[in-house]
């Protein structure tokens, strides 16, 4: 499964669990406006670490926070490739 599909599936699952209404998951969707709160993102990052074996945000030396969903997916693709 591509990281994109893994990520979007998980986002939908977490949103449903937490009764959040999601905006359409396009690459230019700003994460803070997606409908998920920071707890949902924390859960997303933890579940992705278990599925993909990576946490690009804790692994990187400098603090990096993706702004859009596209940035978010690319940080995983980048970490997988690295």
């Amino acid at each position: 499964m591509s990281s994109r599909l893994t990520i979007t599936n998980l986002i939908e699952e977490i949103a449903a669990d937490h009764n959040k209404t999601l905006k359409p998951l396009s690459d230019d969707l700003v994460l803070l406006e997606s409908g998920l709160d920071s707890l949902c993102f924390a859960i997303l990052v933890a579940r992705l670490e278990d599925k993909l074996g990576i946490d690009p945000f804790s692994a990187s030396e400098e603090a990096y926070f993706p702004v859009t969903l596209g940035d978010f997916i690319r940080s995983y693709d980048h970490a997988v490739a690295a």
């Binding site: 669990d17 924390a42 990052v45 933890a46 579940r47």
Partner: protein, 462 residues
């Protein structure tokens, strides 16, 4: 000043029928009559009169015999738990002012500059008790804290036995007690003292004994009364041997008894009295609850009596004649506040007419600034019928600092195809009672969860 009543040593409180009552472990049985009329110290108890004696024996049976022999003679007795780390021995000797060690392993102690008295691991040898006026021996115990220099707590025998009370031996058969605890911890010592001074016998646990064999031995010995932590009991309920065990009284203490473990015990032991007790090494036995429900009635807080309780900032404080005298050692902190209340560190929450324990003050997980007690999440997870036990812990998160994750042990092996559905069911159950930040972000199904020698879940507090 009123004169102090003469202390009554443990050996004088053993009561009647000593030849019929006993302490036993996996390999030996010693009657109380043999204990009361003999020595395990090679007849050298007199040499230890007025001394501060550390009891460090391989077996609980030898430690119990040394206790009976030394109470009323020694100034202090310190019960070394079996897992006292070698690197802490010198500190314990210094803090407690120990000047003699009663041990079956003298080589381990001689290098520390204290005299030793050999405890031969044999039945007691008949010997007269040294003819000396009894003293009020201080009983020293180590708290079950996990790391660092152990804290030493001083008790009196009167405080330790304060919850045992009236104890006219009942007309019914003498109770045969057992405990999953080691008797060198507060919870286990309570059961030893109960058996000794309230007309019973005691079947001790044995290190390394397989749980099914242990339970089978309890059945063979006719155990009627038994205590352990909720973690002990969750493990016991998973044992194939439990079906043959029919105790009349089942007691839980040392950890939060949630509704799931109380219900599990009720199903397994439909005819037993089941009670959960609140006690700590420092505060002593607080109270016991026997209505089968988790938590305790709200009116216990604020009522007068031998045990008074108040809740300060969500933390239970207890003032009690059963509390310890204090911590022992240089620089030891105060155990009580100016009014005599012990801060237990146990957090409670009132729901309706009941208080519920929610966790330890030091164990809180911080999820993006919101507090989570692992124990309250475990209680919610444990309600699922296929969950036997769980452990909730923090996992670092780059976004919220920490998130909540859970390890879960099921009551039976799960087929890989049903795991996802089970996890979803467990989470759905949590969502019924817990807000979002308390719901585990991840659940791992694991074969076992580590239980410490104290009988409590191993928690690695970050």
């Amino acid at each position: 000043m009123p004169s102090q009543p003469e202390p009554r040593p443990l050996v004088a409180r053993l009561g009647q029928r000593l030849a019929e009552r006993s302490l036993s472990d996996a390999s030996r049985t010693v009657t109380l009559a043999a204990m009361a009329g003999g020595t395990i110290l090679g007849g050298r108890a007199g040499d230890l009169a007025g001394r501060s004696v550390l009891i460090a024996t391989a077996t609980q049976l030898a430690a119990a015999m040394a206790l009976v022999e030394l109470d009323g003679l020694a100034r202090r007795i310190l019960l070394a738990p079996p897992d006292l780390a070698a690197e802490h021995r010198a500190a314990v000797i210094e803090d407690a002012g120990i000047d003699a060690v009663a041990t079956d392993d003298p080589d381990a102690w001689r290098a520390l500059g204290v005299g030793t008295v050999l405890v031969p691991d044999v039945p007691p040898v008949p010997a007269p008790r040294p003819d000396r006026p009894p003293v009020a021996t201080e009983w020293l115990m180590l708290t079950s804290g996990t790391t660092g220099r152990p804290k030493i707590v001083a008790h009196t025998l009167d405080a330790l036995t304060g919850a045992i009370g009236g104890d006219a031996p009942s007309a019914a058969a003498a109770p045969v007690w057992a405990t999953f605890y080691d008797i060198r911890r507060y919870g286990g010592l309570q059961i030893l003292l109960r058996a000794l001074i309230a007309g019973g016998s005691l079947v001790l646990s044995a290190p390394g004994e397989d749980l099914a064999e242990h339970i089978a031995r309890l059945v063979r010995c006719g155990v009627t009364h038994i205590s352990g932590t909720p973690s002990h009991w969750r493990k016991a309920l998973m044992s194939s041997a439990i079906g043959a065990f029919r105790p009349g009284y089942v007691r839980l203490s040392g950890e939060i008894a949630d509704q799931a473990v109380l219900d599990g015990l009720r199903q397994t032991f439909p005819d037993a009295s089941i009670g959960h007790a609140y006690a700590s090494t420092e505060a002593g036995v607080g109270f016991a609850v026997d209505d089968g429900l988790e938590g305790f009635p709200a009116h216990y807080v604020g009522r007068p009596g031998p045990v008074e309780m108040k809740v300060v900032d969500g933390v239970l404080h207890i003032r009690s004649r059963r509390a310890a005298l204090g911590y022992v050692g240089d620089g030891a902190s105060a155990l009580m506040d100016a009014d005599g209340f012990v801060d237990t560190g146990d957090m409670v929450e009132q729901r309706g007419d009941r208080f519920h324990f929610v966790g330890r003050r030091g164990g809180i997980i911080n999820v993006g600034g919101l507090k989570v007690h692992p124990e309250e999440v475990e209680a919610a997870i444990n309600r699922h019928p296929l969950v036997r036990m769980s452990r909730v812990k923090a996992r670092k998160s780059p976004i919220t600092g920490s998130i909540v994750v859970a390890d879960v042990v099921l009551t039976r092996p799960a087929d890989p195809s049903e795991v996802a559905g089970l996890k979803a069911e467990i989470l759905a159950g949590c969502r019924e009672t817990l807000p979002g930040h308390k719901i585990p972000a991840l659940i791992a199904i694991v074969p076992a969860i580590e239980v410490a020698p104290s009988g409590k879940l191993v928690r690695n507090v970050a």
